[in-house]
Symmetry: C3
Subunit: 357 residues, 3 copies
Amino acid sequence: MEGSAKLMKRLLSELAAAVDGDLVGPDREIEGFCSIREERDRAATHLSFWLPQRPIAELLGSQVQSVLVAKLPDPPGPERDALAGRSFVVVANPEFAFAQLLNLVHPQARAQEHDVHPSAQVAEDVIFDGAVQVGPLAVIESGVRIGAGSVIGARVFLGQNSQLGADVLLHPGCVIYEDSVLGDRVILHSGVVLGADGFGYAADRGRWVKIPQVGRVVIEDDVEIGARSCVDRAALSETRVRQGTKIDDLCLVAHNCDIGEHVAMAGCSGIAGSTRIGSYCRLGGQVSVGDHLELPAGTVVAGGSGVLHRIEEAGIYSGMPALPQRLRNRIYIEEQRLPDYGRRLHRLEQRIAELES
Amino acid sequence: MEGSAKLMKRLLSELAAAVDGDLVGPDREIEGFCSIREERDRAATHLSFWLPQRPIAELLGSQVQSVLVAKLPDPPGPERDALAGRSFVVVANPEFAFAQLLNLVHPQARAQEHDVHPSAQVAEDVIFDGAVQVGPLAVIESGVRIGAGSVIGARVFLGQNSQLGADVLLHPGCVIYEDSVLGDRVILHSGVVLGADGFGYAADRGRWVKIPQVGRVVIEDDVEIGARSCVDRAALSETRVRQGTKIDDLCLVAHNCDIGEHVAMAGCSGIAGSTRIGSYCRLGGQVSVGDHLELPAGTVVAGGSGVLHRIEEAGIYSGMPALPQRLRNRIYIEEQRLPDYGRRLHRLEQRIAELES
Amino acid sequence: MEGSAKLMKRLLSELAAAVDGDLVGPDREIEGFCSIREERDRAATHLSFWLPQRPIAELLGSQVQSVLVAKLPDPPGPERDALAGRSFVVVANPEFAFAQLLNLVHPQARAQEHDVHPSAQVAEDVIFDGAVQVGPLAVIESGVRIGAGSVIGARVFLGQNSQLGADVLLHPGCVIYEDSVLGDRVILHSGVVLGADGFGYAADRGRWVKIPQVGRVVIEDDVEIGARSCVDRAALSETRVRQGTKIDDLCLVAHNCDIGEHVAMAGCSGIAGSTRIGSYCRLGGQVSVGDHLELPAGTVVAGGSGVLHRIEEAGIYSGMPALPQRLRNRIYIEEQRLPDYGRRLHRLEQRIAELES
């Protein structure tokens, strides 16, 4: 088997029922999940999904026999044959239904019984609010409190007085500095660092004097943060990542930032200090946002862009510096014409000189 | 209490004396530090600072009652009321004084007595030059020497023959490869890696052959490096970060680089191999500097910029590729006019053709 | 001694023989390796190399007495004196020969005998296929299999069912999630994370619902990955890095990517999801490549560039968005003329208006 997906034996009709979908076509035994582009044996036995905004050719050309769809596909006559014998499960949102079924079969890790590995170093006054799993060689300092169902991976470090909600999942090697606060169902991937000092110095005749960073980090419910990402503690008050927000690998949220609810921030992106990202914003990969800025709710920033100025109005922004995407795309096309513009300018000047003389 | 700042009880007059400042207005009991924008209860009991280059409105609108300032504010008559009853401490450099007071109340961690956690793995020949604190599950290999007052956090790894100065602070999870040298008062945040192999390969008919990296890393006194940043060991000699330099999170200093004194390098920035950054340079976030380049002392590179060529003269540089900021800002404005330029060129060509015919 | 290079005593003639080179000039005792720019004592006793494409002045001005070269240097008469008394070893590829000799003197770490540190946490069913070295405080979970000669550094975490080939070298603190597959001679630097969840969510009325990532990561033979880099597990199938590829520090390879053979990817670069990088591609530092793209074999992307579109033809690409380097360099020159173009356009419009009236 490729991939780590567990094999299962479930009837497609059962899965359809679980997501309130209508099964059209033969019932089948489903063994796992696959992409619509799957070309191997799995196409016969695995379930996939197809999004209505994708070209119909993708579905017609696919070998996958069981597909979640938003609407029964209805291609013109001759192409209809390509779908013959396939099974469709019609649901409102196929990708969401696919996620639901995957979660059903591969539920998030959760502590079922209290189990602290004997090699873990746990301070005496740590409070476990129910069953918590603590992996080998974890270090939990004094004053920490952890909610029921949480899984603390191997080699995790929890600094003094950190507070963790219920069903938190910390993958191996995370480091949580003192006084951090994590809500329920927070997932942190390996090597996330929460609460390291923000980058704050005062200049004294050209030399940098550290401004002790005495604020904290607050991560609200249902936030997930990718491997090796960092959220720095605030200088004086707090750095906050609000509920439902998802942050990819190798991202930086600097001190005093406020990241809104249900934001998505793709890999290698960095938000400089004291910036506020509104709820439902989406940032592509390797985006940088300057310090003390604000992005209104729902703003989208394309991958590789750099936001240098406050954005006044939600919309799609792109480029360096980030501009409304339409304008930026125009510039991307026009800048390729620059050598031509230079030549044309020169020729015009010559022709006018001739006319003038 | 929000933030991890310890509450304290100090008279403002005492604090003023500690930074050689003049108290103007009533003495008060100060419980902590806050931002000038603080709007909660803390405004009455916490000390802030105000910089003369900021708009006076910021100070007038602030609710903070105790403020470090460079000069007694003297707004026009009617606005003066907004300051009535407040206390000001007049100092030469308010931000620096603020940093000094924060350091007074929140001093950097320092080993007071020698204390090696029993779970740490420490080679027999490690030399402690005085009281050193070694956290749980740290690994210290043979030949290492550590100066007095240093704090080695939980799960830190110190490779063979590393030499650490006095009062070094290594946060949990740092990895120091063999033969690294750290000066006094160096601070490394969680997950910093010093001395990993530089990216050096020879090509043999299209395939990469590793060039063993046999140099080392030297970090001088008073350097601070943020979480998850990496300084690679040199190919043959050394990679050096000079005294007083501050590096933010998720930065990369590649092999053979020489980073000058009192440099500031903000998050997600990368310096490619063999590049020399002059003293007092300041690099914004997500800056990249190419290999084998040189930045003269005092150069400033704006966030998100890419330095592709040697910079001959100190100044402020910006954009991709980095150009003098004035020129780059002109380009940022002009490029938005490009669609208009195209249209105007076309119209000119038509008009000239008409004149010519 | 500066750098961590071991001192050695070898005759230059011996070293020449080892790389099939011709020694021209006196035989010498060689104590180590140095750069051609070495200016200290080492210049007399260390071996360097000189590339034919570099200016001859570099060689003439160098104080290094023993140099690997592709061809015996033959400068004009008066300059020839600068080379008098030096020793040259003529080889086909001086940099490759230099790498070979460094590898001879500084061979990669390899387990000679089976040695599991008593503080390591190793599951009972772990299979060691020969002598393996496991460092202090490593954690190896159930179902893992490790090939002969491999070195598992301190504090490494190997998740369930991971499979490692022979002579693998994992530096301290790497985290390998469950079900990962590593080939022979893979080198991972400190803090590499393999197999963390890809960034996959379905939107349900503006909220993100996690799509469990149930694929895996496959790292083929002779791959080396730099400190703090991440390769995410696939959503459903696999993320693969093919043989001989070298990835620098702080890089991200997102889920479902396929990185070809003998690729080089410099620091701080990120490849978004499902993108295919062809064999022999070279990516400079801080490059971003968008999702679902393809780079043909042999493509070169300059540092700091952002690939936003599928590249159809191999070549050198540069800038944001990445364009053929010739065009991009033209744009870099032309954009600096934009303020001038604006002025010239305006003047032309005035002159034409005068002509027209």
